[in-house]
């Protein structure tokens, strides 16, 4: 008898019919003899509806009260799913985050899980109940309702799996697994049977938005076996997210091509190359809560250097405004910007032990006349910033060049 945590996202529980479908899937797993804990999101559209109501009242809603309002979305789903299970003859019981209890810190709208009481759930499971838990929410030590921030239901699933020492945490979503790249761009993209946590982290943060990145970190930290599956297809094995030590020798060098479309590049030209200059430029950006992604500092000439970085395109205008101030203080010559950038990354743990990946990537892009504007690397990925108009072309040629369209390639 295995203990399985299943997490279903908003699309999977988007209406009563879909909730009944999820119940059928859960009922089968339960009938097969496994103990099942289900984590659900709010029905699709519901969270946005609630935030919309809040914003009609307060342009920037009070964070504590916003969590009170928004957490009702998942609470509705747990009740409805339990009804569907009971209707199908399955013993089921719902829990809000506060009822479990999922103890978090008091950072309303972006709380972090501190501790999960497993006693009550364990008792219910041993009595043969399926447990349905509201994702995305918890409670602080004063009894205030908190939420984990967008996508936090994945984190709830992984955290429950860790607390209960579950055999597997299954994330049901609208795709049937992790692909070598986006099939909408490369029809030959293949579903991966396995991917390592490190690769998944790079894929997720680079724009393959299947799993919320914090949940992957969490799963890696607590050694939770994680699997991504489709909630709309039957019988698929999805993609298992494994630990590197489990990987067999024949693991391909490159696992996938990730990309991110909404990048913008900013360059500060001709700043004095002295200690602290990077902080002088990026400090005010960080203070404004703008995430900086790639960062490059040129070699200096005559004591002056150029400084480039990328931000999300939505933040472009705010960033330019901040840099206008910085320009004066840092005695920079000029600010330049480009809001139509994209980032393409080649990801794979295999590149640790293989040379020539970078050169192959650069040659492939050069052959198509795609200019590389920035480069950044980590142990298991190489990213380049390019003009957005070449994005699809770049993804396609790289996917082919690294043999990702061939099984075992």
């Amino acid at each position: 008898m295995a203990l399985i945590v299943q997490k279903y996202g908003g699309t999977s529980v988007g209406n009563p019919e879909r909730i009944k479908n999820v119940a059928r899937r859960v009922a089968r797993a339960s009938a097969a003899g496994d103990q099942i804990v289900v984590v659900v999101s709010a029905m699709s559209g519901e969270t946005n509806r609630l935030i919309g109501l809040a914003k009609e009242i307060q342009a920037t809603p009070d964070a504590r009260e916003l969590d009170v309002v928004v957490s009702t979305g998942e609470q509705v789903t747990i009740g409805l799913l339990c009804m569907a299970l009971i209707e199908q003859g399955v013993k089921a019981r719902s829990y809000t985050g506060a009822q479990v209890r999922i103890l978090t810190d008091s950072s309303f709208t972006k709380a972090r899980i501190l501790k999960i009481d497993e006693d009550r759930m364990r008792k219910d499971l041993d009595e043969g109940h399926v447990i349905v838990v509201a994702g995305f929410q918890g409670v602080d030590d004063l009894g205030n309702i908190t939420t984990l921030g967008r996508g936090g239901s994945d984190t709830t699933g992984v955290a429950l799996a860790a607390a209960l020492h579950a055999d597997e945490c299954q994330i049901y979503t609208d795709v049937d697994g992790v692909y070598t790249t986006d099939p909408r761009i490369v029809p030959e993209a293949r579903k991966l049977d396995r991917i390592t946590f490190e690769e998944m982290l790079e894929m997720a943060s680079l724009g393959s938005k299947i799993l919320q990145i914090r949940s992957v970190e969490f799963a890696g930290k607590y050694k939770v076996r994680l699997r991504v599956l489709s909630s709309f297809e039957e019988g698929g094995e999805g993609t298992l997210i494994t630990f590197e030590e489990d990987i067999k020798m024949e693991q391909p060098i490159i696992s996938g091509i990730a990309f991110n479309r909404d990048e913008a590049k900013l360059t500060v030209l001709g700043v004095p190359d002295r200690p602290g200059i990077a902080y002088q430029i990026l400090g005010p950006i960080a203070d404004a809560n703008i995430d900086v992604d790639m960062i490059i500092q040129n070699v200096s000439h005559d004591g002056l250097t150029d400084f480039s970085f990328t931000v999300n395109r939505n933040e472009y205008d705010r960033t330019v405004k901040i840099l206008e101030d910085v320009k004066t203080h840092a005695a920079a010559r000029e600010i330049r910007g480009d809001r139509s950038m994209a980032k393409v990354s080649v990801v794979g743990v295999g590149m640790r032990s293989h040379v020539g990946i970078a050169s192959k990537m650069f040659r492939t892009l050069a052959e198509e006349g795609i200019n590389i504007q920035m480069i950044s690397t980590s142990e298991i990925k190489i990213s380049v910033a390019i003009d957005e108009k070449y994005l699809e072309l770049a993804v396609r040629v790289l996917h082919k060049a690294f043999g990702l369209d061939q099984v075992g390639g």
Copy 2:
């Protein structure tokens, strides 16, 4: 400094604009120096929407899970109202029933309040916070979410007022007080400045649906000063619901004319007049959870008697079906029914010390040719069942006959 509990119903908080209006009213009361606890219902339509979702999944939704789903309605309102208060510069904090905590028994969908912890609220009030509590809901001693049943937000308001020894519990609704009768039927109907609890109970149970009856019982039991006010008009004093001992000498004999439209009458003819016959007839009706209202047993002739009673018109068909069985067992001659009945009542504590009220009522109806089919009396009311088509006429002539259209009449 007074401590006031204010309760706002679903219409009063039906959309963001109305929630802001409620916030303005609360803010004024708070600025005047009073400590304020606000109880709110779900936004109008929301509870029905949630029940509708549940019924799409289960024809008879599981009671525990239905409470989980339905209780979100009030939870959304408390968060939104707190945002509106904070936006207006008022310190405010929301509480669900579980957070307060309002301890109830475990009768899901119709729980009864057992105990209210006032410590946390008291602390917040002393720190200058307005407290906004979700009506209609509580939590049992296992931590399960419960609801008090329809209209239960009034009960929450009164229970909080009792627990906090509030100076007054104000029920804001869409009418500006309790009237001598329904102004839609009698345009001359007057708003009463005061009414006793006993009269209010008779008025409420007889169809003047301003206050939920359980909340009035509760207020009477715990001596909570209750006031009904309009949430849409400013400056009104509403109707104060008082204890009989507070009533001044000049209190009118009759306070109002109550009525109920949806009655149905059933008569069991020719049953043997022996001990236990009433139970034999009404027992199966009660077992089927059908409320019986007026009951009349005729004087017997030749050892046989007739037995009549009224039920809500919705229950007519079920009741007839049950009586068909009863007919055989009780050896009755015949079952007769009439589904178009109405009940009209004259209510007033003054009738305790005045004779002639009944005869005046009967004469007034007789003068209009209205046939009285059943009569029942209590210490402070006389009710008659009549053909529904005469209802408006009966209410109008009785209202006039008892001088209710005249101030101090």
